[in-house]
């Protein structure tokens, strides 16, 4: 069981990282989207491993089933063969790479230094069994205000997207 979990975790992690790298480097956007979907699914799998089933479903429905469909849709709407022929990286790539690595090195250092103090609490059995209800309770009681704010954010985003896409600017 433990071994299976470990194997699954490493497999999914590797899948996520590799497809993330591939996504960033692919010339063809559609391929990039495919790899991103793969990454997201791998992440979802990790959520499932953590017994966060609801999160898994949300990840799949919203990210993969919703947001990425939108992305793919837009990609196909605006797909330009011309852009495939152009160089895919911008002028600041070397500086940017170095800086990004520096940043990640810092974060690495931070995590390394604090790794021993980090551990997830053991989930209570009741929560593990009824994950969805637990999430729902948390959302609608403790995080009620953030939830409402998020819904307003979504509304604003929806209006903004409609305006952006509809008006001839």
């Amino acid at each position: 069981m433990a071994a299976l979990n470990s194997i699954l975790f490493f497999f999914l992690s590797a899948l996520a990282v590799v497809s993330a790298i591939l996504m960033v480097t692919r010339r063809n956007i559609v391929h990039g989207a495919v790899y991103l979907i793969t990454t997201l699914l791998a992440t979802a799998g990790i959520f499932l491993l953590l017994q966060a089933e609801f999160l898994f479903v949300v990840q799949v429905i919203l990210y993969v089933g919703g947001i990425m469909v939108l992305f793919v849709f837009v990609i196909m709407l605006v797909n330009l063969d011309v852009s495939l022929l152009r160089f895919q990286f911008n002028g600041q790539r070397f500086v940017a790479g170095v800086l990004a690595l520096a940043l990640s090195a810092q974060v690495f250092l931070a995590i390394w230094m604090g790794r021993n103090s980090l551990h997830l609490p053991e989930p209570a059995a009741s929560i593990a069994a009824k994950n969805t209800e637990a999430v729902g309770d948390a959302l609608f009681q403790r995080f009620m205000l953030p939830f409402e704010i998020a819904s307003i954010l979504l509304l604003v985003a929806m209006i903004g997207a409609v305006v952006m896409a509809k008006r001839r600017v």
Binding site: N90, Q92, V95, A96, L99, L103, Q106, V107, L109, A110
Partner: protein, 689 residues
């Protein structure tokens, strides 16, 4: 005010009706069809006529001494204190008020009655003209102004009406504005009237300054209170100034020149404005202010003289005119002269009486002439008429009645009024009587010359016109018939006492004539007795018949004679034919001089005002502003530019960072993040220590 009976209390409605329809015509008339225009305009005038009749009936129901009803709607020009000539303080107040007394009552009856008939006539006469609604709009506006004029209770209100009728006269003379002669005639009428109006206005000022009031009802008491002597020079001046105004409006020497030209207007206009109503405004005004005149005998003498001379002078021009309307125009001038003669000899009631009868028969004459012109498709030259009596019989008979009336045949209206004047003149001065007497003969001559040339003899009508000769429509003929009836019977209102009458009309007007008149000196010579009056009448009848016979002889019997006479008279004929060259004289003396003045002023404007004043000022401004500009450009702007340049220089490196690319901003975010984290590491490091 409300105590008065209905019509007397609502006298202000009389001018209101035409005003409303005039406004309607001028604002929305374009959208109305002709029958709607007819209904509105004739209807409104008829309503005024009904109210006038009502007012008249209610007025004569009052006792004779109470026949003065004033209704002030509001105080138009509020009280302004000023010093009178005698140093006392007085208030200048002009009411928007109406006054109805026998005089204005007679006037409104004439104006609305004759006006209504002429309106009806116009619906036929103008039926095929363009600008139908505009014509009726002007006509109604004229009715309004004229009614204001005769109903006004003070001089300023009267002046408003006075100017209003002048304006409408101008508009209607120039009704065919696309014809240059018409618009010129309109302007001429307007400008000539201005001269008279200036005198009138001055008269009003002087009245106000001298008497402290401009209300008619208060002038008499003011005169009485002022203890003015007979022949007071200021009163004489006022009377003369008023008379200047009257000569303008009523076409007397020397300002008569506009009236013949005014015949350019449509014939109903000539009938209504330039025969029946407006031109008599001068007579009305003199009568209205008779209290002043009676204290200024010299002015009265001048009025009488001018009237008499004008009568003779105009009649002599009328003798040789060939345009049918011009003949009638000079005849009008001549008859107006009679009226002033009457006023001048103190017979104001006689003048008004003649005014009324003249309105009937001269209105009829013009309308009949219009009917003739209508029948001849617009022909006005009498030399191209003749033998029309059978073709247009109604017109012929009505016109003949009017001619008999104006010629003074017993018992037509003209005879009664004219003989009343002549009788009074004879009482006053034999010379004036002689002029009037001779003029009466000439009047008979030229009027019958008109009749004979138009209706009798051989036809000289153009061939292509001859086929179209037709009697006018009923809407034109019915007014003719009504006016013919009035021309016969209108004078009987004042049936002379010597014929067993009671001079009711003159008695009716008596209260208006100031009672302040001093005892007149006994006439040096005059009829003295009823028999004398009879003799005078017979004498004038004789002359009139002679004139008619003479006309018949010249224009029916021996048609070649007039040409020979004209040739034998030579220079004198030309002088008369060209109206004594008065127009040319005025042109040379005043009009061209005014034009010269205008040109000179124009030159002055271009050279001095424009050249030195405007351009010089402009140059100066430019010069100063160029200096200012230099300062602005180099000192003010320069300092700002320097500042901005410095800011620009310092901002340039910062600007390089902000290149508009999202990704480089994000790079900067990353740099910032690195810095933050590094700082925290640094802090942590020290904290550990």
């Amino acid at each position: 005010m409300n105590a008065h009976p209905f019509f007397l209390g609502h006298v202000w409605l009389i001018p209101l009706f035409p005003l409303l329809t005039a406004a309607a015509m001028l604002f929305i008339g374009r959208r109305l069809n002709n029958s709607a225009v007819n209904a509105l305009c004739c209807g409104s005038v008829f309503a005024s006529f009904i109210f006038s009749v009502g007012a008249f009936l209610q007025l004569i129901a009052l006792p004779s001494e109470e026949r003065l009803v004033t209704s002030v709607l509001f105080e138009w020009i509020p009280a302004l204190p000023f010093h009178m000539l005698n140093g006392r303080l007085a208030n200048f107040v002009a009411d928007f008020g109406f006054q109805i007394d026998p005089l204005s009552c007679v006037m409104i009856l004439i104006v609305t009655g004759v006006g209504f008939l002429i309106h009806v006539y116009s619906t036929g006469y103008m039926a095929h003209e363009g600008g139908y609604y505009r014509f009726f709009g002007y006509l109604n506006l004229f009715m309004f102004s004229m009614l204001i004029l005769v109903l006004a209770n003070n001089l300023v209100m009267l002046f408003v009406g006075w100017e209003g009728v002048g304006t409408c006269s101008y508009l209607l003379i120039g009704f065919y504005f696309h014809r240059k002669s018409a618009s010129d005639a309109g302007k001429k009428a307007f400008i000539v009237n201005r001269i008279g109006d200036a005198g009138f206005l001055l008269g009003i000022f002087l009245t106000s300054a001298l008497l402290g009031t401009i209300r008619f009802a208060e002038i008499g008491p003011a005169l009485a209170a002022g203890h003015f002597a007979m022949g007071d020079p200021l009163l004489t001046a006022i009377a003369l100034l008023f008379f200047v105004g009257a000569t303008g409006k009523s076409a007397q020497i020397p300002l008569y020149v506009w009236l013949p030209d005014a015949m350019e207007g449509p014939t109903p206009v000539s009938a209504l404005i330039h025969a029946a109503t407006m031109v008599t405004a001068g007579v009305y005004m003199v009568t209205r202010t008779n209290a002043i005149y009676q204290l200024a005998p010299k002015a009265m003498a001048l009025v009488a003289l001018v009237g008499a001379v004008t009568a003779l002078f105009a009649a002599s021009i009328g003798v040789v005119q060939t345009d049918i309307k011009k003949v009638l125009a000079y005849s009008t001038v001549s008859q107006l002269g009679y009226m002033f003669l009457a006023c001048g000899v103190g017979a104001f009631t006689a003048g008004i009486f003649h005014l009324m009868t003249h309105a009937f028969f001269k209105g009829l004459l013009f309308l009949a002439a219009g009917s003739v012109i209508h029948a001849l498709s617009g022909e006005q030259d009498m030399r191209k008429m003749g033998a029309l009596s059978k073709k247009i019989p109604v017109t012929y008979w009505t016109m003949l009645i009017a001619t008999l009336a104006i010629a003074g045949i017993f018992p037509f209206a003209g005879f009664l009024s004219k003989d009343l004047i002549l009788g009074k003149a004879y009482e006053k001065d034999a010379l004036l009587w002689a002029i009037g007497y001779f003029t009466a003969g000439m009047t008979a001559f030229y009027m019958f010359r008109l009749i004979f040339m138009t209706f009798h003899g051989t036809s000289r009508v153009d061939h292509d016109v001859e086929h179209h000769i037709h009697e006018s429509p009923k809407s034109m003929l019915i007014p003719l018939l009504i006016l013919a009836g009035l021309s016969i019977a209108g004078g009987w209102l004042s049936w002379p006492e010597i014929f067993g009458g009671n001079s009711r009309f003159v008695r009716f007007l008596e209260p208006v004539i100031a009672t302040t008149q001093l005892a007149r000196p006994e006439p040096t010579h005059g009829p003295g007795s009823p028999h004398g009056e009879i003799y005078l009448m017979l004498l004038s009848e004789g002359l009139v018949v002679l004139g008619i016979c003479f006309a018949w002889y010249l224009y029916i019997k021996r048609t070649e004679l007039p040409g020979k006479i004209a040739k034998s008279l030579g220079g004198f004929y030309r002088l008369v034919y060209h109206k004594y060259y008065v127009d040319q004289l005025y042109d040379a003396l005043f009009v061209n001089r005014a034009k010269d003045l205008g040109l000179a002023l124009g030159v002055f404007d271009t050279t001095v005002i424009n050249g030195v004043g405007v351009n010089g000022a402009g140059w100066l401004t430019r010069f100063i502003s160029s200096l200012s500009m230099w300062w602005d450009t180099w000192i003010v702007d320069g300092s700002i530019r320097l500042g901005s340049r410095i800011v620009w220089l310092f901002s340039y490196p910062v600007r390089l960072i902000q290149d508009g690319l999202v990704q480089s901003y994000m790079l900067l975010i990353v740099v910032g993040l690195i810095g933050f984290l590094g700082y925290y590491f640094y802090l942590g490091h020290h904290a550990v220590r």
